[in-house]
Symmetry: D3
């Protein structure tokens, strides 16, 4: 295979390169990064979620020697439309984009599709629905989703210095991540702590630990006049913390992929429980 | 208001009854139960998820003196279609049904819509998407979702006797719930322990506690020839456990509603953080 | 088959129970009740149409020894949204729900699907479209629709005491039906005669007999300020009349099913003529 | 108004002509003909339903001095796809076409839209749904549907010589109609009587008189190898019968329109009863 | 084949006639005319685009001895809704109508589908999308589109007397065409020259010759108060010019069909290059 | 405005940066690049179309001092699915993505949206439809589309050394472009001339000059066993030619934008002519 190890992006490969990958790989796998273009406070760029998805996807692809599909920069972000620059796809559009991408990969013989979601809770419903839909037509393909928080629960808990109730949008973790990977896109002079009182014990801002909770629907009208847009404390952020978080997430994804390959080479029965 | 306390179901009220409720209530609220008609092993009826949603909704409505909408018996259940009797709505259909119901309630002046989901993870994406969609058009209405597991994390952990990895579909908890509320629909002679090896540390069957996890797409083709359909250990179930679980969930929902009413009577700003 | 005769509801059966039914029945048949949650005047509950569909479905299932699917409580009711408590699914949503339910039943091997419509003209277009759509994919399945008025033309004509032009929404017949099956949900003190002048000979309020007619589109804006919502004369209603109507409709449906079974065991050619 | 009486077709008018009509007419009304392109046996052309709709629309427009929109030649005809030449729009497509046409007319200030349906039962669900949908957005516009059978119940019954159970697709009535208006498109040498046994008393082929009935879903697979496609007895047809039928239907439509105009000039309350 | 040469319209044939055509023709081909009902200035009727499509389709069908499907009178015309009488289908509706028509023809064994578009740029996106969609499912069918301008570039350039920047909506060419084929529908007393300054060299009104250009989205709000609706100079029109244009377009289409037949009888590989 | 001239990408700006741009710019404009991920022969990467769109968008944004939205890497590419690595969005999905992006920009007050299309004919129908749809809701926003071929007709003609009939997919021009901007992604050892006989004079492979033409629908089944996927002659390519092409296209786009700004500051009437 002429493709060298650092050529991980599908868009940089020719079709014979990709064909060679499919034919030579024991477990043909493609990573699909999806983020969002949405406000993350005055100190971070609009592309935070997409950068995170793209960076993690690239890290996984490099270390697992798999291919990464071109990044999907846009996601389900209507609830951030109060801030200029946010681009909102409807949930249906996100489902359609992912379904078409997944389906194309499945038709080419990709066996495992690993979506990397940089946009937390907001994209997950669409990813879930698209994955199930395409997998019904291609049951031979395994669809898994790496969400940056869900796959890194332990890491987030270990690294956290701030109050879990401070929130996680443009706060300690996302700021750290971008400081590590894109320091030039962070404006440290705009670091402001924005916290919000939890108003019930069921509506915690801590998306890492799980306690009794009630789901609520956030929309673009929820923002106050003076809100800066982020939720959390960027002053607790550091490039080091971002690096550790990044490495932990990639490590976990690699561990998962290895387990998946081994599992699929076995009898293949995959439990489901809901 | 002529409506007595035990008349909680919208379908039993006349339109002037419901109008009187809307006019007299400080916080006009409707509870919307949605379940699924899908296999739950040989010992439980196909309607388990819908019964749970209906029963919890009724409990909330009675104790909070609010109204419950007629139950939605069907949900997103394609992944159980391998078993006779399962009825699968597509995700899109569930989104449409909920959007239409939510929108109708909002147009009548209902201020809070509390969806009770008896079908765990599978219905949540559709509920999320429908809630956000309708709330964009009706930002004055608050949409919240009581999922039986998410609102009862502490209760599930306290009550559990079985191995968390046994799974939670027709297992210890759902069997207990139905034994408490619909003992005639449980066939104790068919109690069989069905457990599944967790195949990675990221794909735990424990949906209560949260650890590092990767999402996976379950489909109708995932079942083995001899699977009985449930995941978990019904022999650990008891009506007493079901009663405690039921009471805890209703208690939590009541506590949430009270906090919500108080919060909305304040400045109304509701933080959002993803 | 362990299922006893009075266990007719799918939601009360386990999947092996339903599998046993499918395997043992000569003509596996499922009845699908669909109604509406909509105003029916001050004397009747919002659930009238759904109760009627549910009751008739149950009666058919018990006497024909077939299975009834969980009731669909909501229908195409936008034209009643002027009254609080009405829940309106769009026509498209009703088509989607029915298509998914029909398709699931067909995939399990059900041979005959009998929809029972308690919501008269308003649900029929959606039922028609969904039935044709699913039958194109499953031509081996027979789809039939029992509409409470259409299957009971003779019975309605025989029983009627009021003026045919009084109308049939919450009038003599629906009030009688609910008085027979759910007397506690009828408020006889609110019985008011609401009649409407027929304004052309083509727009009769008599939906039983057929004369020259022009179809018209009713919408939520059609109601006047003081309208009570029902059309017809509840003072002509009685539980006895309701019982006769109920029995006649169930009798007719049973007669139809028997003819259908016999017909399908023959050469199977089914004429179509429009 | 420069438009002369015989210029009834919208496609023949310039936009100032149509503007002049809208401004000068007391009751601006447009007739919308929709048919189907589908087999009608070996003796009739594929366009029978569209010709009927077009001819009736033209007759109404001429005599009522209103405008007729260009004909929609295609309809919901999947159940005739077994025969070459049939063109089938899906029900959803028919709904979309009609909704767009209706909505355009409403936006121009047309007050009454009269759809003329030449395709009997098969197009009616789509017409119903489209009419209600557009009227919700334009409640000031009145939508009515002239179906050739429904508006002509008395006329059909009076004219009929054949057995009502012979059926009505390419039979006595449709053949007479085309013999009257398009004699060159009728092939009398191919007249064959095709009748079908009614297999239950609920599935009559008589679509004129109404008795106890059960709806059934016809599909393209229902046809037998040797079927000629029509249902009924063309040998009972005559141009005279077609002329009477045509005149009666147009007369009735004119009578309806006059009643409608008078009614709308009154208090405008239009009863609805289902 | 009993069909005579001048019977070209599908709606005039019986199903056995069309079956005979399919069986006897070496290259079963159907022409599908689609136009638009939209304003074309004060001197031309609303149906100009549809008449042109219909006339060209008829000409092709007569001379190539193929069949023409019933005309689609309506198209994508939202951008003309400022003028009374325009009927606008949404792009999605046009896609749906064409997809259903194409698909029906493909299922009957038609090998070549030739769409004749009388509505220039506005219908082409929908035709493109529908053709590709249906051809994916029926790769054995060839879909081609005759657009009146694109197929007649040379003819337009040769015939033109006016300034290319005058525009082409109801101008020299369309007026000439209708003067030739439907002289009674042209009002020569209303001939007014309406020209528009080209405002960049990339937004020429000359749709015939191709130079550097930028696409722009026209909408219904683009019209000025006093606009007459057409773009171009009808005083340059003549019936002779219309006849030449008509003959050239039909000639070209016939030449194309002959090349297509020859090509398909060869190895069948059809290059594609975008 | 803190944004420096080389910060052109929306994803690199914070929301206050973008707000500052909107407030300070005389003509707030955003460029939206859309390409495709699809095979371009063995010598070019799958991302060619997206790179071209991205590069041109960046060039325009830098020189016109406007903002570029994150690139859309995927397009309407079903007709290239025969080759591994191609990712195909349906036309409907492309319409949805663009509509959502356009609508978000319009809601933030962007006045001009300039789509840069790197995927030639295949994306144009979707861009057209989305632009018209969103502009109907936001008539104050101007939507224009820079297609690399259409805006550079003169440049292509001047630069061309090969035969126009060689085709333009991965040929002389696209290869030159990538050699100029991404030389590391071009594999010159794989340069092969792939030409296709034009099979009629109406189906030329020359997409630059316009002559009489008939549109045809290309699909994934059109490819031959041994096709390499590109159409054209990469041996005619050079980085210099790519640079000239790139500069000409950006120059033209800048000229167009300046004309547009001037035009919009005038009376704003924009002619439309189809």
């Amino acid at each position: 295979m002429p493709r060298t190890e650092d050529e991980v992006w599908l868009q940089e490969l020719s079709w014979p390169d990709f064909e060679a990958y499919l034919e030579s790989a024991d477990n043909p796998t493609v990573v699909v990064p999806i983020g969002s273009t949405e406000q993350h406070g005055p100190h971070l760029p609009l592309g935070v979620d997409a950068y995170q998805a793209k960076d993690i996807a690239e890290g996984i692809a490099e270390r697992a020697d798999v291919v990464a599909a071109p990044p999907i920069w846009y996601g389900d972000a209507e609830h951030h439309m109060a801030f200029p620059g946010t681009i909102a796809l409807s949930s249906e559009t996100v489902i359609s984009v992912l379904s078409d991408v997944y389906s194309s990969l499945a038709r080419h013989g990709v066996e495992n599709v690993l979506t990397v979601n940089g946009h937390r809770l907001a994209n997950l419903p669409a990813i879930d629905i698209a994955s199930k839909r395409v997998r019904e037509e291609h049951p031979e393909v395994f669809f898994a989703t790496v969400d940056l928080v869900r796959i890194g629960v332990r890491s987030h808990n270990e690294l956290r210095d701030g109050d879990p109730e401070d929130g996680m949008h443009g706060g300690e973790f996302e700021t750290s991540f971008i400081m590590h990977k894109h320091p030039d896109l962070v404006d440290e002079e705009e670091f402001v702590t924005e916290t919000h009182d939890g108003w019930t014990r069921f509506t915690s801002n801590d998306y890492v630990s799980m306690d009794d909770s009630v789901g609520t629907a956030s929309v673009s009208a929820d923002w106050g006049e003076d809100d800066l847009g982020h939720h959390g404390d960027p002053t607790k952020a550091s490039a080091e913390k971002g690096e550790t978080l990044y490495e932990d997430i990639v490590d976990n994804a690699i561990e998962f992929l290895e387990d998946l390959y081994e599992h699929r080479s076995g009898d293949g029965s995959i439990g489901l429980s809901y």
